[in-house]
């Protein structure tokens, strides 16, 4: 306890530097990202005028990139809260420097995911309608409830461990004290406050796990509750949750890989951190491969007409390039790099994680568009093939840019590594 109140420049100095020191790089990066977002918004304004005609969706492929992005980003959001909560509860000490990075990913990714609904629906001006007139049998309404609950929980869970660091900034930062002071809630580091904070964090860590699991389950049910062949599957709930945690860990590895270089956090994000996360990534990769195998084997064995059409398109038809790229990126690449101690380096982990992120995006795409292309109504199979249009590609890049921008701005105001928690790390025996 005592160590916490004592200033420790070895830890505080490098972690506060990104906030206190602003170089030319910050405005340059912000402007570049704003430019990409601007292009996306320009295309979106055209889509608003003309309608979804601007996008590539068809009958029967009524959903395309937007819903793919929606599922992908909400999957990424499991990086954070879930991983950080599990590691906190299991008392994994190596998680201390990475929990906040993960929690910020959660909040930002959830926002980026949800915003796709605005791009996808036919009348975005009425996006509030499910709140005014919810029809509770609809999985889309379950989505609204689950995502809002998760977003609220994640913001609280991000905020609570931030309080002691906010107090530090209140005392140390030359700027924005008006912001830090109210947010720090009068934190003075006393024994009582400390005990209360620890208790609140523990409660949130427990509560957030079922919420996180429910979110991606419900997202998968948006697809699985319909009768569409290869969507209508009870495996989808756990399959999507596993995929979400999988892509979430990959996103976390990529994020700390980048932050390590940009902010010189080598001391905090050690090779051991990457190695441990890589082991988690391997586990999830195996689980993901098992689910994918089980899903396709049962469908193939059943040999139902429409399901076989989906399988054929995945194995050797229109969707084969995406499907096999997905298998390579999600399983083959991580499994050739990460199980080997020699290759399980920082670079190795980041390379494998980038592959996993691309692979998991492809997985969402293959599931959403691939299955929707082959509905039960066989005459529809050749009717409308999905071809993504400029607006959808522009918005995908704009979302990635907005994700990074939100991260950059957060890093400008708040420490990306939990200073007080790192200070409290018990000495290694």
């Amino acid at each position: 306890m005592e160590a916490e109140s004592r200033p420790d420049p070895r830890i505080e100095e490098p972690l506060l530097r990104p906030i206190l020191v602003t170089t030319w790089r910050f405005p340059a990066v912000v402007l570049a990202l704003l430019a990409v977002i601007g292009v996306g918004l320009f295309f979106w304004s055209r889509q608003l005028r003309v309608g979804l005609w601007m996008a590539g969706m068809t009958q029967p492929t009524y959903w395309g990139f937007y819903i793919t992005n929606y599922i992908f980003f909400i999957g990424i959001s499991h990086a954070g809260t879930l991983i950080s909560a599990i590691l906190r509860l299991t008392g994994a000490e190596w998680r201390r420097p990475i929990t906040r990075v993960a929690e910020v990913i959660t909040v930002v990714a959830l926002m980026m995911g949800s915003i796709n609904i605005l791009f996808d629906i036919g009348r975005p001006q009425l996006i509030y309608m499910p709140l005014l007139h919810p029809q509770f049998l609809s999985p889309l309404v379950w989505d609204v409830v689950a995502i809002n609950l998760y977003l609220t929980g994640s913001i609280v869970y991000l905020y609570l461990p931030l309080i002691p660091d906010l107090a530090l900034l209140r005392d140390r930062s030359p700027r924005f004290r008006w912001l830090y002071k109210p947010l720090a809630l009068g934190w003075n580091g006393s024994e009582t406050q400390h005990a209360r904070l620890e208790k609140a964090i523990s409660i949130m860590a427990v509560a957030i796990i079922p919420i996180a699991v429910s979110v991606h389950t419900v997202v998968s049910w948006t697809l699985a509750m319909t009768l569409v062949p290869m969507w209508h599957s009870p495996i989808f709930g756990p399959y999507f949750v596993v995929g979400a945690i999988f892509s979430g860990i990959a996103a976390l590895i990529v994020a700390i890989g980048i932050l390590r270089k940009v902010f010189h956090f080598e001391e905090f994000f050690t090779p051991l951190t990457f190695s441990n996360l890589s082991l988690l990534l391997i586990t999830m990769s195996c689980l993901w491969a098992y689910f994918t195998f089980a899903e396709h084997l049962t469908a193939w064995y059943g040999h139902e007409h429409a399901e076989m059409a989906v399988l054929a398109s995945r194995f050797s038809g229109d969707f084969a390039p995406y499907f096999w790229a997905m298998v390579t990126a999600c399983f083959v690449i991580p499994m050739t790099i990460l199980p080997f101690k020699k290759l399980r380096t920082v670079t190795g982990a980041v390379v494998a994680s980038v592959a996993v992120l691309i692979g998991m995006w492809l997985e969402r795409f293959v599931i959403v568009v691939g299955a929707a292309s082959y509905p039960r109504s066989t005459q529809m199979w050749d009717r409308g093939t999905y071809h993504p249009q400029a607006v959808e590609i522009a918005i995908l890049f704009a979302e990635i840019a907005a994700f990074v921008l939100a991260y950059v701005i957060f890093a400008k105001f708040f420490p990306l590594v939990s200073i007080w928690e790192v200070k409290e790390t018990p000495e290694a025996p």
């Binding site: 003309v50 309608g51 979804l52 005609w53 969706m57 068809t58 009958q59 029967p60 492929t61 009524y62 959903w63 996808d120 629906i121 036919g122 009348r123 009425l126 996006i127 309608m129 499910p130 007139h133 919810p134 029809q135 049998l137 609809s138 999985p139 889309l140 309404v141 609204v144 948006t222 697809l223 509750m225 319909t226 009768l227 569409v228 969507w231 929707a372 509905p375 039960r376 109504s377 066989t378 005459q379 529809m380 199979w381 050749d382 009717r383 409308g384 093939t385």
Partner: protein, 239 residues
């Protein structure tokens, strides 16, 4: 309680598509245009599917008019987050256009793929505008639309019957598709009345319900001799 239903005799269907044209005219379904056809974005409430049987020179073309089957247990109704699609209670599944926000969840939920989305603003160029039926609202971009069994005709007949204080007879009205069919392949009526023609056709051994195994409870039956159910390979070989 009335239960509107339709029986389509596939052995009588010549594939002339008069029903398709009549449906467009009656319900203000705008012509989508060749660019929409090319990209698979046609707005239509009724389509005639074609199936090729046999191999040359022994070939035979089969036709199947496909429209909303107004399920008893409609998958589209359940998934709508804002209740824009609902069951009227007398056998129809209707769409409230002003309430629809265009999620297209219903379109995926529908195993018959008979819901149409307005990918852009529907247009009636030139004199076509004068063909708009004043009894039916025109729709706009960003919303779903679908076959209503010509609900405007049903409601008008019901109103007249109520004014005259008598029951509705299903002989009083027909949807546009049934009315325009030159071979009278389409029969529309009240299935809850065991005496009605449509109820008799539903009982016929020739009657088949589309994708009956899904348990959606279609209120459109297809009548045909033999085994062909109209759900095989499109323009493919024997089935």
């Amino acid at each position: 309680m009335t239960e509107w239903a339709m029986a389509i005799d596939l052995d009588r269907c010549t594939g002339c598509e008069a029903c398709v044209v009549a449906c467009r005219g009656e319900n203000n379904v705008a012509v989508s245009g060749p660019d929409a056809v090319e990209r698979g974005r046609v707005t239509e409430w009724l389509r005639v599917e074609r199936y090729l049987e046999g191999t040359f020179p022994e070939v035979r073309m089969r036709f199947k008019p496909v429209l909303c089957v107004h399920c008893d247990n409609a998958p589209c109704v359940k998934v709508c987050p804002v209740s824009a699609t609902y069951e009227t209670g007398d056998g129809l599944n209707a769409q409230i256009h002003p309430r629809c926000i265009g999620t297209r969840a219903c379109a995926h939920a529908c195993p018959y793929t008979v819901r149409s989305f307005n990918w852009r603003q529907p247009r009636w160029d030139g004199t076509l505008e004068q063909t708009i039926n004043p009894d039916v609202a025109v729709r706009w971009k960003g919303i779903m639309e679908k076959c209503t069994f010509c609900i405007q005709r049903i409601r008008r007949v019901e109103d007249t019957a109520r004014e005259e204080d008598r029951d509705v007879s299903d002989l009083e009205m027909q949807p546009a598709c049934a009315q325009s069919c030159p071979t009278q392949a389409i029969t529309f009526g009240d299935r809850s009345d065991p005496e009605s023609k449509v109820a008799a056709l539903f009982r016929s051994p020739r009657a088949q319900l589309p994708l009956e195994e899904l348990g959606t409870g279609p209120r459109v039956a297809y009548l045909t001799e033999g085994e062909w159910s109209g759900s095989g390979e499109p323009a493919g070989s024997s089935d």
